[in-house]
């Protein structure tokens, strides 16, 4: 009896072992003999360990679309021409991989050679200055100058840690087909300076006529910042320290958001349906349920694939407030990490990737707004056919030049994520009635103070 029961247990355990031995030559069970070492040396053929004399470089990367495939393509060509360097892309998910665990790995000195990151201010202290290894630093300064500022730990530095894989600019998309069905004129067709309230009124009319949602904004303080700056928000005091209490412009925009959630203008679950994380409203837009969607240039590739020509979607210029008509810049950068043992090799890869021809191909195939000033001026020959896509890309490219100076300052501010997350989470508590707007702004300030104090 006991013997039989015991036997079933060992069977359970050891069938696992059998599966294991079928998959690998590692003698794993019952005495696990160094599976880790074996796994490390027995890497698959595609990622075989580098032979003698070949430098192996690692990029920690994440994907929003097809950019990983494009990069791999480009790097394959590089490796063919440079047999002494091999570049491996380790793809992780953004939220837990790039945002949460990469900084800890970097701090422990266990980072990769290069990484694609978005929170440039916070990762800046782990970045490697490539300047001494570059053959032509002037090229970098000329083409990436303003963005290099975002990657420098100290203001006024001249480090060259990397380049922008994409420049993003926030701005709204509309579903023109819904406007046509509702018989409502698209406000931006007749005016260059449409206010946020005018857009909201028009979108509400369309939504009522077509049974859809009027507006949505990604759940993000960064998305809110463009409209807020337009409404006259200052965000900083005279010393350059974040000061939200008494910032009338910010409060005006926040009040608009509160009203729009109260009266059903905004899709409620985007902001209210979450408490501590980013949420995109793209599915509503893709599904044709949304008239006006405040997102940004990165959605063009997504809509190109997933909407196609199912309806007429397009980006429109950022709406206006009393102070400006601006969105927010942003983007992701590929940067060198200062713990790399092969800075020269890293610099060679970087130089290859940033050469005008390669950059052009990268941006053209990924449908990213170029973060390369030379290409931005010449225009990238995007590989897309849809008129909706081409129009949206040109709207966003034009928006880059129209951004308010404060928008750039906010993006360059190293602790902006603290600021944006506090905005996002505290404002949500106003929508649900847990806080009043004044209390929420007070809380935001406290969160920001605590966060910055902790970071310094």
């Amino acid at each position: 009896m006991l013997r039989i029961r015991y036997v079933t247990l060992t069977t359970l355990l050891l069938i696992f072992a059998l599966v294991l031995t079928a998959c690998t030559t590692v003698p794993a069970a019952p005495a696990p003999a160094a599976p880790a070492d074996a796994a490390a040396t027995e890497a698959p053929a595609a990622e075989a360990p580098a032979p003698e004399g070949v430098t192996e470089l690692r990029i920690t990367w994440y994907n929003d679309g097809n950019e990983g495939e494009v990069l791999r393509d480009l790097l394959d060509r590089f490796e063919a021409d440079n047999p002494d360097i091999k570049v491996i892309i380790d793809t992780v998910d953004y939220a837990s991989g790039i945002q949460q665990t990469l900084p800890i790995q970097l701090e422990a000195g266990e980072g990769p050679d290069m990484a694609r990151v978005t929170q440039l201010g916070i990762v800046a202290k782990y970045m490697l200055d490539l300047r001494p290894y570059l053959s032509n630093p002037e090229y970098w300064e000329a083409n990436f100058g303003p963005f290099l500022k975002w990657m420098q730990a100290e203001p006024g530095g001249n480090a060259i840690p990397g380049f922008m894989t994409q420049l993003t600019v926030t701005g709204p998309f509309i579903n023109r087909t819904l406007f046509e069905q509702a018989g409502v004129a698209v406000p931006s067709d007749s005016s260059d300076q449409v206010t946020w309230q005018e857009w909201a009124d028009a979108a509400r009319q369309v939504a009522e006529a077509t049974g859809t949602f009027a507006m949505a904004m990604d759940r993000s303080g960064h998305r809110l910042a463009g409209p807020a700056v337009s409404m006259g928000a200052k965000y900083f005091n005279d010393e350059g320290y974040p000061a939200l209490v008494g910032d009338q412009g910010f409060k005006d925009m926040a009040q608009l958001m509160v009203d729009w959630h109260a009266d059903g203008t905004m899709v409620p679950e985007v902001w209210i349906g979450s408490a501590g994380s980013y949420q995109a409203a793209a599915p509503y837009f893709i599904n044709g349920q949304l008239v006006f969607y405040m997102a940004g240039s990165w959605q063009v590739g997504n809509f190109n694939t997933n909407i196609g020509d199912a309806f007429d979607w397009e980006a429109v210029p950022n709406p206006c407030g009393p102070a400006a008509c601006t969105g927010m810049p942003g983007g992701a950068a590929l940067v060198a990490i200062n713990t790399t043992k092969h800075p020269e090799a890293v610099a060679r890869v970087m130089e290859y990737l940033t050469s005008e021809e390669v950059m052009n191909e990268f941006y053209a195939r990924t449908l990213f707004i170029p973060g390369h000033l030379g290409l931005a001026e010449k225009g990238v020959d995007f590989q897309a056919e849809l008129p909706q896509t081409m129009k949206s890309l040109s709207v966003f490219s034009a928006e880059v030049g129209k951004l308010a100076p404060l928008a750039y300052d906010l993006q360059a501010y190293p602790f902006n994520t603290i600021l944006f997350n506090a905005n996002r989470d505290r404002l949500t508590q106003v929508f649900t009635g847990e806080l009043t707007l004044d209390e929420a702004i007070q809380r935001m300030q406290e969160d920001i103070d605590a966060g910055i104090a902790g970071a310094q």
Binding site: Y6, A39, N63, G68, Q105, A108, D309
Partner: protein
């Protein structure tokens, strides 16, 4: 097997079929639907295209728009049922859509373009499994490598956990020794602390040892589970001491007592811990992600999550990859379910 009649009356010594049996089956049927339907829905949904996923009300089966190759066009064109001005319905392929107007062709006579109001056309759909939800993400990475890493971690960790936990539980259950109470209280007091709370300090220890990017760094830290020691000790307390004493009188060493007597007698409790351990390790996500940064060492959970971007989550891939992580553990369960459920059911932990 004896007669059906006896079979039905076996438990609790009550011999009559009555209303409570109907209630019983009603409850079990409802329970089965509630337990299985959500998972089935996930599997069904994972075969839908992104467009079909966003449809409301959702279809039960995965539909996709029918398309057809038309002479003179490189790409297959989507098919529509079009209501013509005279009221007849024709099947046309759409070349392109301009505003509110669709430019269509008849697949039989592709020469002539027919212009149609988009409200007069209806997609022609067919049932099609969107295998690309599976094949596209799987092509991007080496599924077999992730699977192997997951199996190595799960099996090695489970064996180590069972071995060292049972040794410790044996000592704590069957010996009086100085410090035993202290050790037990120490272990018990950490029973309730969620591991995510001490993630950072554990990572520091791993870095100190140099186990970054090493599967040992994933396997070892979770091996000394307080829950395991607690469960096994409680179970071993029920084993009569006389058995051990008589084994000793027969000249067995303490180690022999442990592996030849105690372990077989504790098999049910070990089975429970084995299941726990397999589940924990197989499903673990955050810890492997911190320790491992090289993709050839990624476990299945880490690898399959890697297509989730900053700004977009492709739901069709998320659902398909979720099914992929479910599949191996479900297969193992299907094969071994009898052992697993009876294993737990005979534990009778006290």
């Amino acid at each position: 097997m004896t007669g059906i009649g006896e079979f039905l009356t076996r438990t609790r010594g009550r011999g009559r079929l009555d209303g409570s049996d109907i209630l019983t089956y009603a409850y079990l049927t409802l329970g089965t639907i509630l337990m299985f339907l959500p998972v089935l829905w996930l599997v069904f949904s994972s075969f839908k295209t992104q467009a079909a996923l966003l449809r409301f009300p959702p279809d039960l089966l995965p539909y996709d728009q029918k398309s057809v190759m038309v002479e003179g066009y490189d790409q297959p064109l989507p098919l529509f049922n079009v209501t013509m001005p005279d009221g007849s319905v024709r099947q046309l392929a759409q070349v392109r859509r301009v505003g509110l107007e669709g430019q269509m062709v008849d697949p039989a006579s592709p020469g002539e373009i027919i212009k149609v109001n988009i409200n007069d056309r209806e997609e022609l759909r067919e049932v099609r499994l969107a295998w690309e939800n599976y094949t596209e993400p799987l092509q991007r990475f080496n599924f077999l490598v992730y699977l192997r890493n997951s199996i190595v971690v799960t099996v090695a960790a489970t064996i180590i956990t069972l071995l060292i936990n049972s040794m410790a539980a044996f000592a704590l259950a069957k010996y009086e020794f100085r410090g035993s109470t202290f050790i037990f209280i120490l272990i018990i007091s950490t029973l309730m602390i969620p591991i995510s709370v001490i993630l950072v300090p554990v990572f520091l220890v791993i870095t100190g040892i140099g186990w970054n990017n090493n599967l040992w760094g994933v396997i070892i830290p979770g091996a000394a589970t307080p829950t395991g020691v607690f469960l096994l000790r409680q179970y071993m307390l029920t084993i009569p001491d006389e058995l051990i004493d008589s084994a000793r009188i027969d000249g067995a060493s303490e180690w022999r007592v442990y592996w030849q007597l105690i372990m077989p007698l504790s098999a049910p409790a070990l089975a429970v811990l084995a299941i726990f351990s397999v589940m924990w390790r197989w499903n673990d996500f955050l810890w492997p992600l911190i320790v491992l940064s090289r993709s050839e060492l990624f476990t299945l959970q880490v690898g399959l999550a890697s297509f989730q971007g900053e700004l977009n989550t492709p739901w069709n891939y998320v659902l398909a990859m979720t099914v992929m992580t479910l599949l191996p553990i479900t297969l193992v369960f299907a094969v071994l379910q009898r052992f697993i459920t009876t294993g737990i059911a005979t534990t009778g932990m006290k």
